[in-house]
């Protein structure tokens, strides 16, 4: 019990410390230390409570509640203040409705209901704690090195590193609280805390664009938080339920679907599903550790975590169908949209939204194997995506651009970074790697549950995924033969987290049967009853592992071949007009022209101007229709 409290409180303590310390060196050391301790704590807590799980209530919950209420009031006051100051009245409205609502509810009703445990640590929480603890800490370590370079490259931004680091740790603390809380009010508190943290982090640079995007993120997520609050109040008033576990145990009747859909709306906003996805795309303006944190282990994962928790209530119910459909459309639309992007961070953002869509779809289908796929997707995505973000952040510092078209020189600038990048991309879509394993299970799950429409979306989306990742890989390897130019070294605090995550990406593919057997399977059989079976047969898993080993070993086998087989090198074919160095050709009128090779983006077909509006409208319409149907259903009762 005390360990879990330590896990939640330690990052908060670290954040206070980081905020107070004004010396760069000391702060960096503290950041290193606290990150390592946080990671160690998360591993230890998982190890300690993994076998049996644990659920308990803190003594003096009243005090905790009061503390939370105080923070909520302060936060609401702050939000309303900045909202009025910047003329963003929507967020004022959201905060002004939500906080009094929650306060009223907590003060009048919350204590009357239920005596469920406040904290529940089960297998799913264990996975989430590990993901947040390990990936999140690595990102914090990375931030130390990154922020050092960041203010050298961007002198025009005001330096607020202390603030930045402290918010990072508050974020981790809130996420731990979120995945461990069973009391809905606590869950909501942590939920709102992550919203506020993301607001601070996105607006870090204080440029007009950053501010604007930060407010957008705040508005959308506060809207989601409002839906969350409404769901909690509804549950409390109508069913006298205040704990997540009690809520999940209910039968999915029409009236129950009201809070379900409210919570799902909250989850959809947080995990940036389609009508609400613009905030995540806007979040790119922040320094890279922020994006990495938002996209991989925290924030967006909070949304899908909630959907995964709600799975038993979704299933074949109308709410489940709605969420499934929205997730599927999100996956398809954003995968297609990613084709037209050349900004590395934007591609990653679209890919995040797409994969979250896939997780949401899997979780809301409600079958055992779909949920299996959802949880695995969550793990693999967190690892690969944070690796990719961190690598892109470093690349931006090395080559001064994050445009994919400029990355063809990366092999010459930093071979290591390119290889990490390639591992990350391979981890996102290639055959023996994690994401594909989960996608495979997802396909099987969808066809087993007769979701033909989702299957169709999935196959189209997957083929688009293949297109945009491969062309990026192609850019990365296109200059592999050239000699390295200059000695760019990147800081050890940047390299260590990237290396660890690259190793994790590969290791996770070898280890997933173990994770599945000891963590996911017990969780699933606890949830659905009966014994769960892995959707992918042992035979196939073995073949996958053989493929993975081949991929790792084959390049080594080529060393000997290369040693013995030297060949004549000739210029590339340009119709005989190659100027000699493969970089230019003899054009018309005796002029030598530079050769430029560009990837395809097909903006006319997959551009955001073409797709965003329609897909947003479609998803919004689906959501509206289902809400209206639900309201009509409840009125009819």
């Amino acid at each position: 019990m005390s360990w879990i409290a330590a896990l939640i409180l330690f990052p908060a303590l670290a954040s206070v410390l980081l905020f107070v310390i004004r010396k760069d060196r000391l702060r960096n050391a503290v950041c290193w230390g606290s990150s390592l301790i946080t990671a160690a704590l998360s591993v230890w807590v998982t190890y300690r409570y993994f076998g049996m799980g644990v659920s308990f209530s803190f003594p003096g919950e009243g005090a905790i509640d009061s503390f939370m209420m105080a923070v909520e009031v302060l936060a609401a006051a702050y939000i309303i203040f900045v909202g009025i100051k910047n003329k963003k009245y929507l967020i004022c409205l959201f905060a002004a409705i939500q906080t009094p609502l929650m306060l009223w509810f907590e003060l009048t009703r919350a204590h009357e209901s239920g005596a469920a445990a406040g904290i529940v640590f089960d297998k799913l929480s264990a996975i989430m704690v590990l993901v947040i603890g390990v990936i999140g800490s690595l990102i914090c370590i990375y931030a130390v090195g990154y922020m050092r370079g960041y203010h050298i490259h961007h002198e025009d931004y005001k330096e607020r590193k202390a603030f930045f680091f402290s918010i990072l740790f508050v974020f981790l603390s809130a996420m731990f609280g979120l995945v461990l809380s069973n009391k809905l009010t606590w869950l909501h508190f942590c939920w709102e805390l992550t919203t506020l943290c993301s607001f601070f982090l996105i607006g870090y640079t204080q440029t007009p664009q950053a501010k604007n995007n930060a407010f957008r993120a705040l508005a959308i997520n506060l809207g989601g938080g409002l839906a969350f609050a409404a769901g909690i109040v509804f549950l409390g008033l109508r069913f006298n339920i205040s704990a997540l576990s009690e809520f999940i145990a209910m039968k999915p009747e029409t009236v129950v679907l009201v809070p379900v859909i409210l919570l799902c709306i909250a989850a959809l906003t947080k995990s940036a599903q389609l009508p609400f996805s613009s905030w995540l795309l806007g979040a790119m303006v922040a320094p890279t550790p922020t994006s990495a944190l938002l996209h991989s282990s925290t924030m967006v994962k909070a949304g899908v975590y909630l959907v995964i928790r709600l799975t038993p209530l979704l299933g074949s119910s109308a709410a489940g169908k709605t969420v499934t459909l929205i997730g599927g459309i999100t996956f398809l639309a954003t995968s297609l949209l990613a084709i037209s992007q050349s900004d590395a961070k934007k591609i990653l953002a679209y890919s995040t939204i797409a994969n979250l869509g896939l997780i949401v779809t899997c979780a809301s289908v409600g079958t055992q194997e779909a949920l299996w796929a959802a949880i695995l997707l969550l793990i693999f995505h967190a690892i690969s995506k944070s690796l990719l973000f961190l690598a892109v952040g470093s690349i931006e510092h090395q080559i001064g651009s994050r445009n994919v078209e400029d990355m063809d020189i990366l092999m010459r600038v930093s071979r290591k970074l390119s290889i990490y990048m390639l591992i990350g991309i391979a981890g996102m879509f290639l055959a023996p790697f994690g994401m594909l394993i989960s996608k495979w299970a997802a396909m099987k799950a969808f066809i087993d549950s007769d979701n033909i429409l989702i299957i169709i979306m999935l196959v189209y989306g997957s083929s688009a995924t293949l297109f945009y990742w491969t062309k990026w890989m192609g850019k990365l390897i296109s200059n592999a033969n050239r000699k390295a130019e200059g000695h760019h070294t990147f800081h050890i605090t940047e390299e260590v987290p990237i290396f660890v995550q690259a190793a994790l990406t590969v290791a996770a593919c070898f280890c997933f049967p173990v994770v599945s057997r000891y963590a996911i399977m017990p969780y699933l059989s606890g949830l659905f009853g009966g014994s769960a079976a892995m959707p992918i047969g042992t035979n196939d898993v073995n073949i996958m592992l053989i493929m993975l080993s081949m991929l790792l070993l084959l390049p080594l086998g080529f060393f000997s071949i290369y040693k013995n087989d030297h060949r004549r090198i000739v210029p590339v074919y340009m119709g005989g007009e190659n100027a000699g160095d493969n970089k230019a050709f003899n054009g018309a009128l005796g002029k030598t022209r530079k050769l430029e090779l560009r990837n395809w983006y097909m903006e006319k077909y997959f551009g955001s101007a073409k797709l965003t509006y329609w897909s947003d409208t479609l998803c919004a319409a689906i959501l509206c229709v289902s809400v209206i149907m639900l309201v009509l259903g409840v009125m009819g009762l």
């Binding site: 210029p571 005989g576 007009e577 190659n578």
Partner: protein
Amino acid sequence: MNFIKKSPWILHYDGSSCNGCDIEVLACLTPLYDVERFGVINTGNPKHADILLITGSVNEQNIPVVKQLYEQMAEPRVVVAVGICAATGGIFSECYNVVGGADKVLPVDVYVPGCAARPEAVIDGVMRALAILEEKQKTARCKKGTQEGAGV
């Protein structure tokens, strides 16, 4: 066994010419002559080709091009000059810009006369080139063999 005779792939380059020989070369691919019977393929890519078929004369502008194309071909390779222009410069030989036949730049192995060269003559030239190609391959192998022997 030597397979190069059974599968000659051709790169066709047209220099300064009236395009007469050019058309006759392409005529070889038509059903009437059907050079694919002999495994001949018109590749359009020096890296895949065994035979460089040049029609038309060489001029100042295309010297580097012809040289580069020849450089980009894999050993063994032969050059066939088709038509009188490719042999000597033909009626263009007195032009201010024309250097002369293909042999001014490249080691030509077979000359196919004619203005324009008839398809039968072109095919005959290619077949003769095959014999030279085979010979080149043999000597290349012998050379390689002796080199390896010397190494031991």
